[in-house]
């Protein structure tokens, strides 16, 4: 392989990871906007997304379907698992996130950490053979069974990965449209800017919080399905590190800013994939390097890439 093709491969891997990280980070930043909390169980919501889609795949007997019905079932599974996990997200928000959001940051952080542990362990215990890593069915490769992968200067781009990338980009695009062009999106932005004033202007804050958690969790579920397809395997504690990465990406991008979260997600992914490729024993240390980048950001630009500078009010 030539060096350019290596770089292409790394860039592509970075894009694949980045789209997943961005979808998780967007959730963190949305929740921080409306409730001022860090929802640490969000990584586990992402894990639930992967598991629930796997359950739905076996439930709908997707593997036996073919042709048009296969595509319809596939789309149905994507939508259903997103809706299901969105519902879970709202449930978790009602149980453990909103009630503690008025306390100190430490409290909300611990409550959501505890919630995340409870979710993770519940999956491990109650899912059949939950502590082993599960093989995620290759649901997309059937669509492209006859076709060769695209080769570009020695780099191989698999069709299913390209499709994941496109779905992710569409999801982010739709989110951008929703937040910027609809009335609900306006209400979300208003709540994020100043909850009290938004309430005075007739925004039903509790409803906005529910909607935000629904959207954020559904996007995390999408990221979970993508992760399953990309790595072909899922495990109950995949959400722990994903949550930390998503949070880091949101912070690097600037908490509260959706585009910042996306930028942060891609930055984190590129740092990881480049350090895995170019630094000796990089794959073992890639998380360390990525976290070091996060810490550097917190030291030199604590407001993130796109965040506003916040002054402490007394």
């Amino acid at each position: 392989m030539t060096s350019t093709s290596v770089v292409f491969q790394i860039l592509f891997n970075g894009l694949m990871l980045g789209i997943q990280y961005s979808l998780i980070a967007v959730g963190f930043t949305l929740f921080f906007g409306v409730l001022d909390v860090i929802h640490f169980a969000h990584g586990d919501v992402f894990m639930i997304g992967a598991f629930s889609s796997m359950v739905l795949i076996t439930l709908f007997r997707l593997q036996t379907a073919s042709g048009v019905s296969y595509i319809i079932l596939l789309i149905l599974i994507f939508i259903l698992s997103m809706v299901l996990v969105g519902g879970f997200g709202v449930l978790f928000e009602r149980i453990a996130v909103k009630p503690v959001s008025k306390g100190s940051p430490v409290m909300s952080l611990l409550a959501t950490l505890g919630l995340g542990i409870a979710i993770r362990e519940a999956v491990r215990i109650f899912f059949p053979r939950g502590s082993e890593s599960k093989r995620f069915p290759e649901i997309l490769s059937k669509l492209f069974s006859g076709k060769e992968a695209i080769k570009l200067g020695g780099t191989i781009f698999r069709f299913e990965n390209l499709l994941i990338l496109i779905i992710g980009v569409i999801a982010i695009f739709l989110l951008g449209l929703y937040v910027n062009k609809t009335k609900m999106g306006l209400a979300i932005r208003a709540t994020a800017q100043n909850g009290e004033v938004a309430e005075m202007m007739g925004v039903n804050k509790n409803r906005i919080i529910d909607i935000t958690f629904f959207i954020g969790s559904a996007l995390a579920a999408l990221a979970g399905i993508m992760n399953g397809i990309y790595y072909n395997s899922i495990i109950f504690d995949m959400g722990a590190i994903a949550g930390v990465i998503g949070f880091s990406a949101a912070v690097v991008g600037g908490l509260g800013n959706i585009y910042g979260a996306i930028a942060g997600g891609f930055l984190f992914a590129f740092v990881e994939s480049f350090s895995a490729a170019f630094i000796p024993r990089g794959s073992e240390f890639m998380d360390v390097i990525a976290f070091a980048v996060v810490i550097l950001f917190l030291i030199f630009k604590p407001s993130g890439i796109l965040g506003e500078k916040v002054y402490e009010r007394v």
Binding site: V106, L110, L113, I117, V288, A292, I295, L298
Partner: protein, 399 residues
């Protein structure tokens, strides 16, 4: 007349504490699964008693509150007696002694975290990592350089404090969520480093760390009928008491007051001339010193350490001890350690669900009692100052 009353009080306190002590012994001894129900019934019964007989409860409370020193002396005496009494009552006492020692170690770590999280309000999600720094320092010094084990303990504490200083110096100004993220990253980084650096054993960890040896007397040697860990039991007990005394003095001094001021309102504290950066660093390094010391004792006693002992799950356990017990409250931290370390050991039935129950417990406690089971009270400076004026008690006589 008055003297006789005092004697009666002491007798009452001693008998109540001895009764509780023996109940705990019995709790350790019984192996059946019914113990879960029995304990719950006992705790429920006690709570019911305190609700119905309010007057008696109040009088017992007052008795304990007015004779603090007696209460503590009897407690320490009972704890000193434990290794002598336990082999008679409990067949598997070695195991329980080990659990008690581990509880002591966790109390030390949690008290260290309490200075950071409880007093200063600085989140540290890497406490297990600093505990690990202490353990690895002691292990390496004792194993590779053949240092006497006893000297490695303070050195390990200093090493943990230095590492924390180096790590926190660039980032200690961050707060809230950001500090949590930074310390979380520290924890991951230190655990990954321990896993990947061959010099300190890599994933295999360190084996055969020599135990404490005082003038040719090995701490792990068996003396007479006592069990294996008796020496360590007394050693850890002494260190825990020392840590509690230091924490208590810290809390009651103007340093503790300054730290709480920073926690409650940093801009106001700055406005009053408090150099908050300096105090934050002091609180971080002091806390990490305790963690390092505790880690060193663990390494020397068990003789084997490896990276999985010092990961995020452990940090979370330590944070839960502080949160569930009650922040900025020494008694709360001790109660939290007992709840989260001893009780799960007894209920082996729920081992599988243990971590999940931790998670649920954290959420439930934070929702129902956001300030912990035993929340911190206001410092009673006024009372003690008044007491000093009347010549009754010194400035640190009571909390």
């Amino acid at each position: 007349m008055k003297k006789k009353n005092k004697f009666l009080d002491i007798l009452k306190i001693a008998s109540i504490e001895t009764l509780i002590f023996f109940l705990i012994m019995v709790f350790f001894r019984i192996e059946s699964t019914w113990i879960l129900l029995a304990t719950l019934a006992l705790i429920g019964g006690t709570l019911l008693y305190t609700r119905i007989y309010k007057k008696q409860t109040e009088s017992i409370k007052a008795l304990f509150a007015s004779n603090r020193s007696t209460v503590l002396i009897v407690l320490v005496l009972l704890l000193l007696l434990y290794p002598i009494v336990s082999p008679i009552i409990i067949p598997q006492s070695t195991y329980w002694t080990l659990i008690l020692i581990q509880t002591g170690i966790y109390i030390m770590v949690a008290l260290g975290l309490n200075i950071q999280l409880g007093s200063t309000g600085m989140m540290n999600l890497a406490s297990a990592a600093f505990y690990g720094v202490g353990a690895y320092t002691a292990g390496m010094l004792a194993l590779k350089l053949n240092w006497p084990a006893l000297i490695t303990i303070p050195v390990a504490g200093i090493a943990a404090a230095l590492v924390s200083l180096v790590l926190f110096l660039p980032v200690y100004k961050t707060k809230g969520h950001y500090l949590a993220l930074v310390t979380l990253a520290f924890g991951y980084m230190l655990a990954l480093a321990a896993d990947n650096i061959e010099f300190i054993g890599g994933p295999q960890g360190l084996k055969n760390i020599p135990s404490i040896n005082l003038f040719g007397y090995d701490f792990l040697s068996k003396v007479g009928n006592f069990h294996f860990y008796t020496n360590y039991y007394y050693f850890v007990l002494a260190l825990v008491i020392l840590t509690i005394i230091i924490s208590h003095r810290f809390f009651n001094s103007w340093i503790g007051l300054t730290l709480s001021y920073i926690r409650d309102d940093e801009p106001a504290a700055k406005g009053c001339g408090v150099n908050s950066n300096r105090w934050k660093l002091l609180s971080l390094t002091t806390g990490c010193f305790f963690m390092g010391v505790a880690g060193a004792i663990y390494a020397l006693m068990i003789g084997f350490i490896s990276p999985p002992n010092f990961q995020f799950a452990q940090s979370l356990l330590i944070v839960s001890i502080v949160i569930i017990g009650g922040m900025d409250n020494i008694l709360g931290v001790i109660v939290g350690a007992i709840i989260l370390v001893i009780i799960p050991e007894k209920f082996r039935v729920i081992t599988q669900y243990r971590v999940m129950l931790y998670g649920i417990l954290i959420v439930v406690v934070l929702l129902s009692r956001p300030r912990g089971l035993i929340p911190f009270g206001a410092r009673k400076y006024e009372a003690s100052v008044l007491g000093a004026r009347n010549g009754k008690e010194g400035p640190d006589g009571n909390k």
